[in-house]
Symmetry: C2
Subunit: 238 residues, 2 copies
């Protein structure tokens, strides 16, 4: 397939990837699978990191395993039991809303991206990887505070001071290639890069076989994205 040179690029890209390793946060969802494909397309040697935070939708982790196997990258799964501290419909016994939501929804997991980036930062230090990719998105982002560009920028400044690499003058750069894309643009670019979205699971309450409810915020955004991209939706619903 003919892939336009601009696909999957981001502000931090130019000539950076030669002989570099990157940690890619992989949830098993549509966005992170696309992010991994973009990082590989940019030439990074990629190491996938999934965080098992006690989420109700454990089928996400199975999807992360499928996606990383197809991409030919090593997947590490770090277990962090966020159920201990509670506070989200994604980890606790709170109903997932199906009618759209206003403001920050109950599916927000407190400090989730902060925690996941911190684990990626630690893993990058261990690997001596210079780059981290995370598929956050500020357009179709469900109102989570830790998906905004200003959060990522502040995280980058903090990471510079947190790490051995930073102290020694080498910064670990955080890439967010999806941050300004619509869901339809993400799907179009991922499709051009050969991402098989049938391997991914986005639903907040997918069943054990990775079939989706079709009604939660995440399903609604995904479904509308395939429609807007005019790409056939391979999602299996129950």
């Amino acid at each position: 397939m003919n892939v336009p040179a601009s696909i999957g690029n981001d502000n931090n890209t130019a000539n950076r990837s030669a002989n570099r390793s990157a940690v890619v946060l992989l949830s098993g969802g549509l966005d992170s699978a696309t992010t991994l494909a973009m990082a590989q397309h940019q030439g990074y040697r990629c190491f996938a990191l999934a965080v098992d935070y006690g989420q109700r939708h454990a089928s996400e982790l199975k999807a992360a395993a499928r996606v990383s196997e197809t991409a030919g990258v090593t997947l590490k799964v770090v277990r962090v039991d966020l159920r201990t501290i509670g506070g989200s419909a994604l980890t606790d016994d709170i109903d997932v809303p199906t009618g759209g939501s206003v403001g920050i929804p109950v599916t927000y997991v407190p400090a989730r991206n902060t925690i996941m980036l911190s684990l990626a930062l630690g893993y990058a230090e261990v690997l001596k990887a210079s780059d981290i990719f995370i598929g956050v998105n500020a357009v179709d982002y469900s109102g989570y505070p830790d998906c905004r560009p200003e959060f990522i920028s502040a995280y980058q400044s903090m990471a510079r001071l947190a790490t051995k690499a930073g102290v020694e003058g080498a910064e670990i750069v955080i890439h967010t290639p999806l941050i300004q894309l619509t869901k339809a643009e993400i799907i179009r670019q991922g499709t051009a890069l050969g991402v098989d979205y049938s391997e991914t699971v986005s639903c907040y309450q997918a069943d054990d076989e990775g079939r989706a409810c079709g009604m939660c915020d995440s399903c609604r955004i995904r479904k509308a994205g395939f429609a807007a991209a005019s790409v056939p939706d391979p999602t299996r619903y129950y």
Copy 2:
């Protein structure tokens, strides 16, 4: 005991504590036990958080349980298996050095304070707590990058943007009351506040009963601290 009003205060203190809750990171070591006593002395309702990151010195966690029980605070233990990503003598099968070290030592756990603060941030959001206390120290700090004031300050800026509280205009404030104190000053202030240091474990390779080696960096710094403070050292060595 007559406790001077200045003890345990910090830049973020003035009249802040009324009716406020704080998450206090508690490792079971000397520094975090002192930090908890200071936070209580400032009037915060404290919630202790220990992070079980697969450390070799699990007797730390038993110490955290003793310290929080004596202080009358609830302790939550969040398990994060950092052994999955490796990279430190404190989690891996690497010898702990006993002869002092130059630069960033092998006992450095990649991104540890970043990860622990992120978990504390998530827990603070769940509790609607307004403050976080962490016993980092920039004086006797063994060269870890994530113990420096500039790291904490950058973390604070990031946390402002990461959280629901921040988005709604209420900042979660991070306190580091020990950051500019020598080990002797920490011990003197903690002793004035009634901290029972026999409950604490600082050793990187303590045995199951919490007895210390007396030779690792952490033991050496602690031992010298008691001597410099002219406070009897209650540490049990094996």
